[in-house]
């Protein structure tokens, strides 16, 4: 308990202007087990924020709170406040379906639906009724593939199964699928952990381009990746947010001893 009081607020967790997501006092419980302790963090708009930390530190759990994916786990309970553009996302009046359309997600393992490439991307716009005509939908699909840098590679096999692509292509397809619902925020849960270095480079390049229009949060266990792509980094340890700040500052001049130990590779 003493720990909890001392690190009530992580170093550098002061409010940020302007912020897309503001989280205050977030606790997460899996049944009787507490997974996150009093997390306070602000996420800046149109930038990439990286969550780093050793495995089991709660970074993915926190990420899944941001679009309420934890709702699908019956024993999971979330307390505290998370605001998206001034709106509390745990407000009972807020619609989770709509929230998830605004906060897209890309998963650790590429999970294209066992359908054609075209259908994978058209799925979101269809269920949300974003297009009125077939032509509009076709255009949207092409735009999304273009943005994901995939259009040239798959142009002539749009109607072949998405599961037939390579791992890196599949993950970019999932990113294209996520942006097709025109989200404000994209959550990426270790998006490159299943990919080879070349594919990883392509996805990172894509993220860099996307940050012009989207707020991106990436969970990664690769510090190099966090340093390469993000502007802001938050370090989690044992369910607590230890330190958050400008990426360059975190990696060059960490203020917390544990952050320093982690980035210098003393544990992890």
């Amino acid at each position: 308990m003493e720990h909890q009081v001392v690190h009530r607020e992580a170093i550098g967790a002061e409010p940020l202007q302007p912020a897309t997501i503001i989280a205050r006092n977030v606790n997460v419980f899996y049944g009787a087990k507490q997974a996150l302790f009093n997390v306070d963090v602000d996420v800046p708009r149109n930038a990439i924020t990286a969550f780093i930390g050793p495995s089991g530190c709660g970074k993915s759990t926190f990420l899944r709170c941001l679009n309420r994916m934890n709702d699908t786990i019956p024993i999971c309970k979330v307390t505290g406040k998370i605001m998206l553009d001034g709106q509390d996302i745990y407000d009972p009046d807020l619609d989770v379906v709509e929230l998830r359309a605004r906060v897209g997600m890309v998963f650790q393992k590429p999970n294209p639906f066992p359908k054609s490439i075209y259908e994978n991307i058209a799925y979101g716009p269809r269920i949300h009724g974003l297009t009125r005509t077939k032509k509009e939908l076709d255009e949207l699909v092409e735009q999304c593939l273009e943005k994901a840098g995939l259009l040239k590679e798959v142009h002539d096999r749009m109607h072949e199964p998405g599961t037939g692509l390579s791992g890196g292509q599949q993950q970019r397809l999932c990113i294209a699928r996520a942006i097709a619902t025109r989200p404000d925020v994209i959550l990426m849960d270790e998006p490159c952990s299943a990919l080879d270095p070349i594919a990883t480079a392509k996805v990172e390049e894509l993220m860099d381009e996307l940050k012009e229009n989207y707020t991106i949060i990436i969970v990664t266990h690769s510090m190099q990746q966090a340093a390469r792509v993000s502007q802001r980094t938050a370090f989690f340890h044992l369910g607590k947010l230890v330190e958050v700040g400008d990426t360059r500052q975190i990696f060059t001049n960490p203020r917390d001893k544990r952050t320093q130990d982690y980035i210098t590779g003393r544990f992890g």
Binding site: V97, E98, I127, H128, E146, K147, G149, R182, E212, N213
Partner: protein, 437 residues
């Protein structure tokens, strides 16, 4: 790579938070859930309907109307020459004695016309002739005495007392005439006619009269068949499963066995009946209707079930146990018999019971091998003709009399009762010996 502005913001497409569209989507969600609940409810409602129908039709089969009248075993009729010759007893008219007793109980005059006699006789089962004769043959000293035995009433009387005959339909179309109704009412009021537990349902064999037909032959036949299946299918099934799991090399031949077992499990049961008819009866010349053949056919039919269950049970024994045994120098065969099979035993038992349950309820193949037989005498060996519980249900179900409908449902209750007990045993075994590795 350029980023297209339209997707990011300011886009001609409709905005996301269109409340009308969201409402439609949630309505679809609710409808889908309702379909699910409805589907499940229909299935379960059917289950209840089926049980309700069987039980409401069948519970009364466990009661049977009998007439408790004192019958005078008249020596003049049974043993006129006083020689106590047993072969002579068979010639006596016991129905007349019973009829007289009944007439006395009603209070009719001794002199009766033919019609009265016929009506009186119509109240009693035809089986009472044999019923009384058997008593006399067993104990000739009863001759000359007055004994009170519960005499089986006629099936129509039984149906009337169970409310299955409508008194309001005109006399000429009714099974019982007005005079008979009067007598029955009097006898019932006097406590002479009453419904007792129907022990005959379990003691009698086949009969053309519903009141004197029972399940004895079917029960014994089913028992013999289950024994045959247990004695043959279990060793063969377990041996097959052990071979395939622990010893069989992976080659064309074992693949063939494997595919074959899966397919046999799905072959229509009636085809097994054709096999039994062609091989066991026509080729091997075994007697038709014998429970041995039924047992053999059911053995072949249940083998896949037992093999599949046993393989699953063997596979559930962790490899570490086998490695431990092999590590201390046991041979593969010793490992199998000392460790794997004993540990898989509860699973094998459960699979066996499930196989037996399947065999006990199976009807179609038994029809093919002549088990739709009218068997009066209880079989004493597996070579004698017998029927089986489900086959008896089939035979009664195709008889028209109301009394048989009741008995069919009663037999169904008995069958379901056995199946319930066996399933409960399987569930108990599974729970009792379930092992978490």
């Amino acid at each position: 790579m350029t980023v297209d502005a339209p997707i990011a913001d300011g886009h001609p497409l409709p905005r996301l938070n269109d409340p009308a569209r969201l409402r439609t989507r949630y309505a679809a969600e609710a409808r889908f859930r309702i379909y699910g609940v409805a589907a499940l409810s229909i299935a379960i409602a059917f289950l209840f309907g089926l049980f309700a129908s069987i039980i409401s039709n069948g519970w009364s089969a466990f009661l049977q109307t009998k007439a408790h009248v004192p019958v005078y075993l008249d020596p003049a009729e049974i043993d006129p020459d006083g020689k106590r010759d047993v072969s002579r007893f068979g010639l006596a008219d016991y129905t007349k004695l019973a009829r007289d007793a009944l007439s006395k109980a009603i209070g009719l005059p001794e002199k009766q016309d033919k019609a009265t006699k016929r009506d009186l006789k119509g109240l009693l089962s035809r089986a009472i002739d044999v019923q009384i004769r058997d008593l006399v043959v067993a104990d000739p000293s009863l001759i000359g005495q007055t004994i009170t035995v519960p005499l089986l009433a006629h099936g129509d009387v039984d149906s009337l007392l169970k409310g299955a005959i409508d008194r309001s339909i005109p006399e000429e179309r009714r099974q019982l005439n007005d005079r008979q109704l009067q007598w029955i009412d009097k006898l019932t009021a006097d406590g002479v006619l009453k419904k007792d537990f129907n022990a005959g349902l379990f003691a009698y064999g086949a009969s053309s009269q519903p009141e004197s037909s029972g399940l004895a032959v079917a029960l014994i036949g089913s028992l013999f068949m289950m024994l045959t299946v247990a004695l043959l299918a279990v060793p063969i099934g377990v041996a097959t499963a052990a071979y395939l799991e622990e010893f069989a090399p992976k080659n064309f031949w074992t693949d063939l066995i494997e595919v074959n077992i899966n397919n046999l499990a799905a072959v229509p049961s009636i085809v097994f009946g054709l096999l039994g008819l062609a091989v066991f009866i026509n080729f091997a010349g075994l007697p038709r209707s014998a429970s041995l053949i039924g047992g053999l056919v059911l053995t072949l039919m249940t083998l896949p079930t037992i093999i599949i269950a046993t393989r699953a049970a063997i596979r559930a024994v962790p490899p570490s146990i086998r490695e431990a045994a092999l590590g201390v120098g046991a041979s593969k065969m010793q490992t199998l018999f000392h460790h794997t099979l004993p540990l898989a035993f509860p699973g094998i038992m459960t699979g066996t019971i499930i196989g037996l349950v399947q065999a006990l309820g199976e009807t179609a193949p038994l029809l093919m091998i002549g088990m739709v037989a009218f068997v009066v005498d209880i079989p004493s060996s597996v070579m004698e003709p017998a029927t089986a519980l489900p086959v008896q249900i089939y035979m009664w179900a195709t008889s028209a009399e109301r009394g048989f409908v009741e008995r069919t449902a009663g037999a169904t209750i008995v069958l379901l009762g056995f199946l319930f007990v066996m399933n409960a045993a399987a569930v108990y075994l599974r729970r009792r010996f379930e092992r978490k590795w």
